[in-house]
Amino acid sequence: MNNNAQKFQEDAARVCADSTHRRIIGTALDKYAQGRDKKIAEFQDWEQARESAARIKQEGLDDLEPLLRTLTKKLTRRGTHVYRAPTGADACRIVLNILKQNGAKTMVKSKSMASEEIHLNEALEKEGYRSIESDLGEYIVQLREEPPYHIVFPAMHLTRHQISDLFRDKLGSEPTENPEELTMIARKNLRKEYVQADVGFTGANFAVAETGMISITENEGNSRLSASLPKIMITLIGIEKIVPRMQDLSLLLPMLATVGAAQSITCYNTLYGGPRQPDECDGPEEYHVILLDNGRSRLAKDNTFREILRCIRCGSCINVCPIYGNVGGHAYNATYPGPIGSVLMPRLFDLQSYKHLSFACSLCGACRDMCPVKIDLPLLLLKNREDASTTQPKFFEKLAFKAMSLLFNKPLFWKWGKRMGWIGQKFHPLIEGSVVDPAQCWTATRKAPKLKWKSFKDLWKKHSQ
């Protein structure tokens, strides 16, 4: 087992045994689920909505390069600098260059999972730049020096007491149990960051080819502030976020809000096409849009896995995943956790480091039923498993399955295999659950079922005489 897989097992086991932790995330997820179901029920035809959304995103993928060219042309025409970053390191370099060329020192950031993916904050800190997260959840985990717990709700795992203690320790604020007061503390501290920051950095949810715009969804207003006050604005967006038409947003935005946050629509859905125009009184003097590839164009050409790029990063698969509910976000040790991460991480990055995530799934299918763009996540996980077992087979596992096929295909072998198993079972109680028990992976936490002397095949033989 490689290091990542080993660490995952340990972290997962730790959280599984931590009933307090599980209760906190369980309560948050249940609350979300009730709200989400209510919002889904408000749609006249949710299933048709999923069909249409899947079709729109698929269209975006099928026509990826031409749409990106149209987007780039239209953005550029309005004075936006557009870059294509082949890798995460390239994207970090582009951001650093923009900061260097403008003598910038601080950057205020709004939510961007893509920036987590490329480890942007670390790259900036290494060069001595300050990068401040302004989304409340991201701000909290940044102060705690830990990664986000969830792609939509980064601080889902924390109680108000923990946040109060954190603010007291890091910001010197008065302790309080009141979520409103805690929010106001963050608001006050972040205010000066917006006003003073040289650069405003945002992620994005969609890019509209038809009109050459970047669409950003949020509730807090921090992204809009990052896009209004600083002189320079940078947006990092994965190339797969492209949609053909402006009209597509009229469906995708309410769907994203419904399953992502249990809202009819989020508070601010803003479209940016360029820097401040000559007839406008404020706004950034420069607008830079970085189109991030980092393996996406390669995936888009892969007939088996390309549908994963339909993902709109709503987090709803994560919210219904029973594994996530038991092990939490940090155990994945991956930018993208849950079902989406378990498919994407081995494909965007490397199979060896992340394949264990594709196996850490009971294939229950809840994620597929919830996905607003109808990605067949369980099937893609199975295909990741096939890829892993074909290209990096585990010797004894492969041998075991070869032996099993012999056992199953030859009636005589199967008959005597069962008999021998029944006999061996007699001695099993001596070692059941202990380290020498070959079935310890089961018996450590569960009682083992019993093989019967007379199998169904025996009973049937007698019955059909």
């Binding site: 249409s52 409340l136 009209q247 009229s250 009819s264 803003t270 404020d282």
Partner: protein, 200 residues
């Protein structure tokens, strides 16, 4: 505007009223859910009275707005120091105002939303920085649903878009602490929408 050009999302999305009075009712219901204060008023005089009441209740010392006949006809009567963003402004000064008054592109009854833009609504910060954002709208701006609203923006601006267009739905909020809803995260804590009918 040709409503027939808007494609089939209308049958999929939540039900939207299309008759004017029903749209007003739907916008009012959605606003209440969002904690947006919605006033449906008749004439400038009534609007001025409402704004004066708000100014008193909230103890406004100054506000911000952008130059249009309509905004001037309202803001000037309040006799308060006003910051006009059109020729530029200092962020420090904008930070001190108690409220902003802007026009909008459209209202959306289906969701209780409104569209604003950076060209004709006083810039990017005016509607997001001050703690109370007041939006002034007129009847022809009330649209039934999101597909119609997006189509409207496309038809209105054609290829000459403002650099920013924002669909605003309610005051700013967050659920990041234990998924408990808190208003006024970074954007305005209060949103007021005033729809002014011509007086009878």
């Amino acid at each position: 505007m040709n409503m027939n050009t808007v494609p089939g999302f209308k049958e999929i999305l939540p039900l939207a009223e299309t008759e004017y009075q029903a749209m007003i009712r739907q916008f009012a219901v959605k606003s209440a859910e969002l904690t947006t204060r919605f006033f449906h008023l008749f004439g400038i005089e009534e609007t001025i009275r409402t704004l004066k009441t708000l100014a008193l209740q909230e103890k406004w010392k100054s506000l911000a707005s952008h130059h249009t006949n309509l905004t001037h006809s309202l803001v000037d009567t309040l006799n308060l120091p006003a910051l006009w963003t059109d020729s530029g402004y200092s962020t420090e000064e904008m930070e001190r105002v108690d409220a902003s008054v802007t026009l909008c592109d459209a209202l959306v009854a289906q969701t209780g939303s409104l569209f604003i833009n950076s060209r004709t609504c006083g810039g990017r910060a005016l509607s997001i920085l001050p703690p109370h954002h007041i939006v002034i709208a007129t009847p022809e701006q009330l649209l039934p649903d999101l597909p119609t609203a997006f189509q409207y923006m496309q038809d209105k601006y054609k290829d000459d878009y403002p650099s920013m267009m924002s669909l605003v739905t309610g005051p700013s909020r967050t659920g990041d602490i234990e998924r408990i809803l808190v208003l006024g995260a970074h954007g305005p804590r209060k949103l007021t929408v005033i729809l002014i009918e011509k007086p009878n």
